[in-house]
């Protein structure tokens, strides 16, 4: 019995190829501009001239992220019309027909998982491919990853398998929302703050 579905993401192995992002778009028919799963490129550091040559101290890694189907979803909490719910297995879903397009949830989500579509004046987000998952198949993103850097399952089981890290730079404090997320950090993530790294690809997000 699953109490809280969650994603595992291996930042140490993610190349940033975005097969997950596009697999999601294809499965869910997402028009250009709508990204339920996104890949954040984190980059920072710089170059220093030593002797005659430039020497790098550059950090670079990726964070692939959809909706973390939080244990205490701030999006649901913020919705004035109760359009966002949580299933018994932890999956957070939006009942679009209730959505009034106020975008409070988008504002509330610490992971920028909620995406607003101006053409319909509603929000949407990753639904964990719940129909596939209910049928015993993995979410499209997990099945797509050429590096096998994504996994899914019950949060407790994922923690047993992969550890309990759920935050790497520059993700927000997970305490409040309790994201269904387990991460294997990239070697650079511990150095990223000191290198003043930042998300480098906002134009792609």
């Amino acid at each position: 019995m699953v109490h809280q579905y969650a994603f595992f993401f291996d930042a140490s192995a993610c190349t940033g190829c975005k097969a997950c992002q596009v697999a999601c778009k294809d499965r869910n028919n997402l028009e250009t501009g709508l990204l339920w799963r996104r890949v954040y490129e984190v980059a920072g550091g710089g170059w220093e001239k030593r002797g005659g040559v430039w020497v790098p101290s550059v950090v670079a890694y990726n964070i692939s992220m959809a909706c973390n189907h939080c244990e205490k979803p701030p999006c649901a909490l913020s919705c004035p019309v109760n359009a966002i719910g949580k299933r018994e297995d932890g999956l957070v879903f939006i009942e679009t027909w209730r959505c009034i397009g106020c975008r409070y949830c988008e504002w509330a989500c610490p992971y920028t998982a909620i995406r607003f579509d101006a053409s319909t004046n509603t929000v949407s987000k990753c639904n964990f491919c719940f129909d596939a998952v209910d049928a015993g198949a993995p979410p499209a993103c997990v099945a797509a990853c050429p590096m096998r850097a994504l996994d899914f399952g019950d949060l407790d089981a994922l923690r047993k398998k992969y550890g309990d890290v759920n935050r790497i730079f520059p993700l927000p404090d997970p305490e409040e929302a309790g994201p269904g997320l387990v991460i294997k950090p990239h070697r650079d993530s511990a150095k990223a703050a000191a290198a003043e790294a930042e998300v480098a690809n906002w134009e792609e997000l």
Binding site: D26, T32, L77
Partner: protein, 809 residues
């Protein structure tokens, strides 16, 4: 909590959750059409689950497992394509159980996953068209197939009578490898029609395919990839499989090797996606100087006695003056070159630091690591050989592999082009093109020379099979080929050549879209995609599987397969029967399977069985990876290499005898490129440009796919040091230019590229404005048509430019 504190954590969650059950119930039990996944392989022949035809009757949606459309992408992957009412509704990946290293799932990359947006792109060509304006203007009107085919037949006859068969040319182009789509269909007709000018070599591998055999006598120098799990050290030199793939699962195997404890180091001007995720360390290097770093590594190995002297003595020639080949006893040995015995320049790490921009101590450390952490792999990517003296870097890498004794051992790697199968690698194309009655062949990169001055071309221009050509190229039939304009060097020059109708008199282009090459067509013919006809493909380069590609949907409008178009032309020329032999596309797929079955895949099922199983792929598990040169390693006398000496030729007497030591030295050397930061040209054009492969495209294929452009927009990547000096900020449009052309595109300022280098992803479609300035970031307006000395290959990454901030439109 503050900003959302006004909303209480309370009933809203519970209420909605209670309501969710009903909402979702109807979606819970959805049948998966197409049958369960199973493996089709020698160990489990024909065990591929329920047939698809039954499920057709109970569900309007059907699922077909198929090989991903076969472009020149570096992968061959499995797709599950869902179809409803004749339309592809979604695409999923390989779901075969048991994703193991010996026989992993063939997971498609972003390009294959986005394919629906290419398949149903509004710009698909659907009708034949003929040119109305001047050639190159891109003005066309639709015509009937009858008019198109009649025109082609009469022009072919006219040109044959006027100029002979050497005037016909089916150019290099890699848009389709599915057998029944692609240039091979045109080549077959040309063979029947009396022949056409042939070509050899490619734009991908010109130097590495030409130079590797000078060292090893063969291109089959690679161990099977699973053997990387036996390596302790992997140098990824100019190698970026995460972006160009280089074989489905290559990046996955590297991950596995690293998990087993191998140390991976990536040497590249860019901190590539591969460097970030696959390697333990990234070493930036100035483009075009890799051979200098390799030479300095040899210097460290020699002076610190870290090389495998015994292996060099027993298996190599030309390392030092004691083992020079007969007739070259007095020539400069490799050791003499490295130590500077004759030229007075010791190729030390300090010497290489000034050339490469890599700190000398780093070079020395990598030399020690590679020489002492055995077995090890020095994998040569292809980018660094598409350069001015690309032959040198290929041979220099092979020599490092040889003198460290990493040849012929599990976990080692001989370097070079590294085809793996004993028969020379995958087949790529098995569609029979027939014997070409015209024996003359030009290097593929020199086709513009053959248009301008074919009759003057001889061996000095790489002409093979004839002393001279009888005619210049007069007719070009470009099939699945945007290489003619967009991917060839110096687009502005190519455009001028093609615009002159006195040179190429008739130009037919067949494609899915109106490409930059298509703009120059006299006749533009609509080809179907690989989802719209039958095809088959085998594994890319490494080739351990065969993927079936059934026809899944109908083509739009009047589009036809390349095979059908060629067959229709053949009919007009009275060659219909000879061309088709009574087969349709499926019939040729059957013939292709037969070829596979008789060679590398003896257990391959019949086409009917293959189709019925809906398995999509037949794979051969690699449980005991082959190791190249294992026999030679064991007993070099009994199993000599196919080189003149039978040994690894660090020194090549064949190259010595060419008597061009400055450009084709007998031992691999670093040679300063003809455009470089060290030449006078750098005063005007101080920045190097590299045109790397991009995940948004396969070369120029998939260029117009919105989901890919969204994920990886076209832009120039530039280091903050160079950007600040030019007051350029991330997102600004920049003007990149040299004497050959100008392109304007947005830029990304990033520390992930070394100072002095700008990266413009290759393949963007040339989009000239009224002033001839490209507005899309097509790197080939900057590249040069000059070819490499030995391979006659493209040197399209050897470019110097200036960059400045452009005005926003």
């Amino acid at each position: 909590m503050s900003r959302r504190g006004f909303l209480r954590w309370s009933a809203s969650v519970g209420t909605a959750a209670a309501g969710s059950g009903k909402l979702l119930a109807g979606l819970r039990k959805r049948r998966t059409p197409g049958g369960p996944a199973a493996r089709l392989s020698p160990s489990a022949p024909g065990a591929a689950g329920a047939a698809s035809r039954e499920s057709l009757s109970v569900s309007a949606e059907r699922m077909v497992r198929t090989g991903c459309p076969s472009h020149n992408c570096g992968g061959r992957c499995l797709l599950r394509v869902y179809v409803r009412d004749g339309v592809i509704t979604r695409i999923e990946g390989d779901d075969r159980p048991g994703d193991i290293v010996a026989d992993p799932q063939l997971r498609a990359c972003i390009r294959g996953r986005a394919y629906r947006r290419r398949q149903y792109h509004p710009d698909r060509l659907t009708r034949p068209m003929k040119r109305t304006g001047k050639r190159g203007e891109g003005k066309f009107v639709p015509i009937s197939w009858d008019e198109a085919l009649d025109t082609i037949a009469s022009e072919f006859r006219r040109i044959k009578a006027a100029h002979g068969n050497q005037a016909f040319y089916v150019p290099y182009g890699t848009g389709s490898y599915s057998q029944t789509n692609g240039r091979q269909t045109a080549e077959r007709l040309m063979s029947l029609f009396g022949g056409s000018l042939g070509y050899y070599n490619s734009y991908s591998w010109a130097c590495i395919s030409a130079a590797t055999p000078y060292v090893y006598g063969t291109a089959v120098t690679g161990n099977q990839r699973q053997d990387w799990l036996n390596s302790r050290y992997i140098l990824m030199w100019s190698w970026n499989p995460a972006e160009m793939r280089d074989g489905t699962n290559t990046e996955f195997f590297l991950r596995k090797a690293r998990e087993k404890g191998a140390r991976l180091v990536c040497i590249d001007p860019r901190l590539t996606l591969s460097a970030a995720a696959l390697a333990d360390e990234w070493i930036p290097i100035r483009p075009g100087t890799d051979a200098a770093m390799m030479t300095a590594m040899a210097h460290v190995m020699i002076t610190e006695n870290l090389y495998d002297a015994e292996f060099v003595r027993t298996h190599c020639i030309g390392f030092d003056s004691g083992q020079m080949p007969t007739g070259a006893e007095g020539a400069e040995s490799y050791r003499e070159y490295v130590l500077g015995t004759r030229d007075g320049v010791a190729k030390t790490p300090a010497w290489a630091e000034a050339v490469t921009g890599v700190p000398g101590d780093t070079i020395a450390r990598i030399a020690r690591e590679y020489a002492t952490t055995k077995p090890g792999v020095l994998y040569q990517g292809y980018g660094m050989q598409r350069r001015a003296y690309g032959e040198q870097v290929v041979r220099a890498g092979c020599v490092l592999a040889a003198i460290t004794g990493n040849v012929g051992v599990p976990g080692g790697w001989a370097s070079g082009i590294a085809l793996q199968a004993r028969d020379g690698g995958p087949f790529w194309l098995v569609f029979p093109t027939g014997a070409n009655p015209v024996k003359a062949q030009i290097p593929s990169f020199l086709w513009t020379e053959a248009v301008l001055r074919g009759t003057e071309m001889g061996p000095d221009d790489g002409l093979r099979g004839a002393g001279r050509l009888d005619t210049n190229i007069k007719c070009i039939w470009a099939v699945a080929c945007n290489a003619l304009v967009n991917q060839h060097a110096n687009i502005n020059r190519t455009a001028r050549i093609l615009e002159d109708e006195r040179l190429v008199e008739f130009l037919v282009v067949q494609d899915n879209f109106l490409t930059p090459t298509g703009r120059f067509a006299d006749l533009l013919l609509p080809a179907c995609t690989q989802f719209e006809t039958w095809g088959v493909e085998d594994g890319w380069k490494y080739g351990d599987e065969v993927l079936l590609m059934p026809k899944i949907v109908d083509p739009p409008g009047e589009a036809r397969s390349d095979y059908r178009i060629a067959a229709d032309i053949a009919d007009r020329l009275g060659l219909g029967e000879a061309y088709t032999q009574g087969r349709d596309e499926r019939g040729w797929v059957e013939a292709a399977l037969d070829r596979f079955r008789k060679t590398r895949f003896p257990g391959l099922p019949s086409l009917d069985e293959f189709e019925r199983s809906n398995a999509g792929v037949y794979s051969v598990p690699v449980t005991k990876p082959e190791v190249a040169f294992a026999d030679f390693r064991r007993d070099p006398e009994k199993h000599p290499l196919p080189t003149p000496s039978g040994k690894i030729e660090i020194f090549s007497k064949r190259l010595l005898d060419m008597n061009r030591p400055d450009e084709i030295p007998a031992v691999p050397k670093y040679i300063r490129e003809w455009e470089s930061p060290f030449g006078p040209e750098a005063a005007k054009y101080p920045l190097s440009v590299i045109g790397h492969h991009y995940l948004a495209r396969v070369h120029s294929t998939l260029e117009n796919v919105d989901w890919l452009n969204e994920a990886f927009p076209q832009r120039a990547f530039i280091n903050p040091v160079d950007a600040e000096a030019r007051k350029i900020r991330s997102g600004d449009p920049v003007r990149v230019f040299n004497d050959r052309g100008t392109t304007v595109l947005p830029c990304r300022v990033t520390p992930r590229i070394m100072p002095g280098v700008v990266a413009i992803p290759q393949g963007a479609w040339w989009t000239p404005d009224a002033d001839g300035v490209d507005r899309r970031g097509s790197v080939n307006v900057l590249t040069s048509e000059r070819w490499t000395p030995l391979a006659f290959g493209n040197a399209q990454h050897t470019i110097m430019v200036q960059v400045e901030k452009a005005e926003k439109d």
